[in-house]
Subunit: 286 residues, 4 copies
């Protein structure tokens, strides 16, 4: 943990051109930073967009942050027209988890978090169902039961927003209520959802039943950022499992649960590690 | 090959009820057949449909076929309201392959066939492109070049049907022309197509380009029986490969080719082995 | 649950010969049983071993068991030299879980069990570590902490055997002590272990470290029945995940945990459903 | 192709320390090169080994190579104690393929090469079997039949070396003779082999038979660089397929062929793109 205060990540996107890597790595080198890992991607070396993630170690980073950011803005970001941000190892993101009746994604995230796999503080769980309260209490996390009546959705969302004040990330761990556009605007934080199909197949309700009816031989799950359009946001991760004519819809759901929780966990982990950059409704995952 | 004349498969579907397995296996046992393998499936033991495939060995089968079929019809099929057929090991199905510009599925099928993996006679290859002639000749298979002009599609289809007279199966090995309803009716044989996406995602043209635009993390291919509705027929087999932001559309196509040829080959192999039964636009694959 | 008392499974193995399926299905049909599903396998139709699993529904089964078994023994099993057993739906197997420090397999099994995915009674958890007590208590399952000192292993095993009296299955959920030959004999119940490698690669200790050193590109996990020879028992299930030079040993362990818990759960589920038959140190999984 | 003359790759390995990326990217930037892609890996930021692959575009590269290399050696490589090399886009590697009886890997490579998937010149095929001559001729590649008698292996290897003079890469496409240490030394070029198992499981002969006997549920294939120790060289790529008790050894071989050809093709493609770096009997694959 002490070590974390000397570690940061720099995320950059800008129009691709000559000399970006040299400029950024030269800047970090000049400021005594040691690059731990570096990933980059260009949509097109001619006129495309360039993305970079650099993780670096810099002794005494805490005291040097302001100066580092100011210098970077002037010396590198402005001339190269960059969008950029530094993420600091000692500033853990604050995460809230939303769940409905199913507990597999919720508990899986909490297990991983307790085991140290997720670099975050889980600040609360909010659910429209009351029955996960005991389980969640076992992890030492506050549990807020916020029922969502059809005719009082706005009130419910307002109550939820109070619980979610100040979070950096909301994870929909099979939360089955559609969040309103207004809610997303007021929340102002990224929301990751797990959809129980291999998007773009089976957008919307009951994907396993529809997969069964279409007779697919493989089912899947998709973790994506939530946007206003249902199940249409940037995809972070997907995975699949083989099925056959033997499986009923119930069995597809059961097989699907194992995919869902792993896909969601990977997406959340990568987001927390600042590995996911969004560009034109797609993601670059470093 | 001699051995093949003593081997047959019995395919059955009927309303599920008590005693079907006993009736069929008793019948075969009484006729001195030795069951080599048996698979069965019921959509629902109460009121569902029952499917069965039994492969058996029966010495002197050639001389006993007519009697066997007559007895089966009377003693088993009629009382149990079965649809049924026997497929005999010495009656190899006659297969034609249709291809367009891409050769990966075409050559892969011909390689497998030459290696003895496909239990069929490949009677001809038909293509709207001329340039596979030399390759196909190397396999000793007739090659018919039938150009398909937009304004003369009916004539082209008629010419194709002449080449396809008497075939038991047509394989669309990345054949990129849409076959008319009339063609399918006049052909009167099953047609297996390979679609270069993970159906039902990306029905229609340019699935790799659209997969790239949607930012999926996994691409796939689907082998299905052709019906009048585009890319909507019963799915026989699917498989997938993992991709990322790094792959261009060209690279997706390249990765996809490896999936396509394997998925198509499996579907064709299973069809030729009488393993695929169709029910309500889905398949049971034994 | 009431329905379960009318359901049974018949497991059979015998020398392959003509008429087995007819004999068994005829017997069940004559006793008014409705076959729900049936699987069979022959190692070789000529002189091999034949395996079959039939699940059937028989109204009033409870009262008819003795008669059914007696008749089957006389009319079918004896003439066909069968090994056989009936497993009844209302006699749930009694399962104990053994664990060490790691909790991922343990918690995953308990959670699946609570969800109803595992057809068993979990009678206790035994661990050489004390710290899962609270978690296990949350599932309402007794927890026995039995430390295993190197010089007092026999005493520890005796104490464990007391807790395990009467169980039908022991699951080693990453239990890291090697069980003695004597323990296995006295236990007299099948033991399923999860080994954290793709057997037969990396038998024994520290498989992830050795996988890293060998530079493999895929890691795996293996669920198998425990025999006296370490990691050499019949394999029930395996699965894998792709890795690269990027992952440290710690990260391989983390990726591996996700494979381990799913592979173990599948093996346990299939065993509990009487789907796993052992033959010559291999399994037939129906 | 013309474009290729302006493109090069720089491969680097050196002790990890501050400022490497800055030094290399600064050097390339100062020489007007535009970095197209860049990958890097460090075994340990403290005292480990650093690896980098940079692909760049430099107008007029042909005339500037000598100067570029001389400058790089002096200004970057020497102070940072680098091992390094430039690979130029217009200098295609010369590849020879060795095969035995099976043709699936051989034909697959030739077909990919003809499609333009492999960035190389295939200069010849050498086989201890005569019967691929016609197929290989169809690709316009010389075919040398060099029988390998047990008592005259040295002579055979000498004859092979004559055919292999000047090649940059030898691919063993299911070549079933063990190459002697002497052969490897005299060849002086990297050799990529496809082994038909998931190494380190089933080193040596008949891996599919042994996989069947062990009862594994997944089989695999491994492409690796050949070293003097059998099947122990650095692994480049592996892949797997699921199997069950149903498959005979013949069927495992058939399923395996589909894995082998894809795994070998990937390894060869990556090698030809200078993506594979070897370190302590492991590979870094960028």
């Amino acid at each position: 943990v002490d070590e974390a205060q000397h570690i940061a990540r720099l995320l950059v996107s800008c129009p691709d051109r000559h000399g970006i890597v040299a400029a950024v790595s030269g800047f970090l080198s000049d400021h005594d930073a040691n690059i731990l890992s570096s990933d980059q991607h260009s949509t097109d070396p001619e006129g495309g967009t360039f993305f970079m993630r650099m993780e670096f170690h810099l002794e005494g980073l805490l005291a040097r942050r302001d100066r580092l950011e100011r210098d970077f803005a002037e010396q590198v970001a402005r001339p190269l027209e960059m969008e950029w941000r530094f993420a600091y190892g000692d500033r853990r993101k604050r995460t809230a988890v939303l769940a409905s009746r199913d507990d597999h994604c919720l508990l899986d995230l909490l297990w991983r978090w307790r085991r140290g796999e997720l670099e975050t503080d889980v600040v609360c769980v909010v659910s429209n169902h009351p029955h996960h309260a005991t389980d969640v209490a076992g992890f030492g996390v506050p549990y807020h039961h916020v029922p969502v009546a059809r005719e009082a959705k706005a009130e419910a969302e307002s109550e939820m927003l109070e619980h979610l004040a100040g979070v950096d990330l909301v994870v929909l761990a099979r939360y089955m209520q559609i969040l309103s556009r207004d809610f997303l605007h007021r929340l102002g934080a990224p929301v990751i959802n797990i959809h129980h199909s291999f998007l773009p197949a089976f957008v919307g309700a009951e994907p396993y039943r529809r997969a069964r009816e279409r007779g697919v031989k493989i089912i899947g799950a998709t973790a994506h950022y939530v946007t206003e359009e249902l199940d249409a946001g940037p995809i972070i991760e997907q995975d699949v499992a083989r099925v056959s004519h033997r499986q009923s819809v119930d069995e597809l759901e059961r097989i699907g649960r194992d995919i869902e929780r792993v896909v969601l966990a990977r997406a959340v982990e990568w987001h927390l590690q600042d590995r996911v950059l969004v560009h034109e409704n797609r993601t670059v995952v470093f």
